[in-house]
Amino acid sequence: MQNDPTIPNQSDSTRIDNILNSLDNIQPAEPKPFFYTRLMARISNTTQSSWENFSALITRPSVAFSGIFLIVLMNFMAAWLNFKTPAVAEQPEVVGTEEYTQMATNFFDIENIKP
């Protein structure tokens, strides 16, 4: 009788059992000594000021490109709105010379009040 190649033979089966049981009685691994010291060194190296955090945020490519895109978009919108609105020349406020004269007269009148 020919053996089915898809069914492992006895030696394979035993070997697979041995592999599956190879973690029995495993001892827990431990980190190298002075783990806490290395951890604190890492924490102090990664501690950043709020300005550093802010600069790190704005220099992120996604944030930077979004910001640039927004500024360009706002410029385009502003230009388009200016272009669309008909240019109406503002009329300068004209103050009549009479009014100036009147004011000046009143001022000097106060100074030259006679009893």
Binding site: P8, I19, L23, Q27, P28, A29, P31, R38
Partner: protein, 192 residues
Amino acid sequence: MQLTEWELIEQLKLKNNGAFKIIVDTWQNLVYNTVLGFVQNEEDAEDVSQEVFIQVYESIKNFKGDSKFSTWIYRISVSKSLDHLRKKKRKKRFAFIESLFGKDDELINDPPDFLHPGVVLENKENAAVLFKAITALPKNQNIAFILNKVEGLTYQQISEIMEVSDSAVDSLLQRAKTNLRKNLETHYHFNK
């Protein structure tokens, strides 16, 4: 005076470095061993363990005591380990794409067989084969198997960490063993 676990947590919320040192000294072996089971590299395990404690320090204010502190630390360890593996996979894929365009000649090769320092000498070779096969398991089976076999946790502890029922953990472990056996049989069938 020895502080209770809850007092330590309260002190850590006040950013007391002494309390943090006690917590690190108490839990470092547990964290490192768990992480090592997932990442299968001692240097990476050290890095990820440090990230776990940084996360503990930063997010202790969110710990409300709904679960045990150990369960919370295990959850962070598992999640950080899986994040690390995802990043490594992405990096490897990116390096492969870059190598196609001839940008970088150096390819990130498959890591050598992982030899866990806690495995007895006569089992080292078999354990290396098993660790390699474990990486091919689906995520939840992978987590349950490592927590049970490497960290030696009970079904109940695993169920608390994974937030599933005990029977679900049992089912995950059974399926993990079946899949591992199937993978190993295929491996030996093709290597004849």
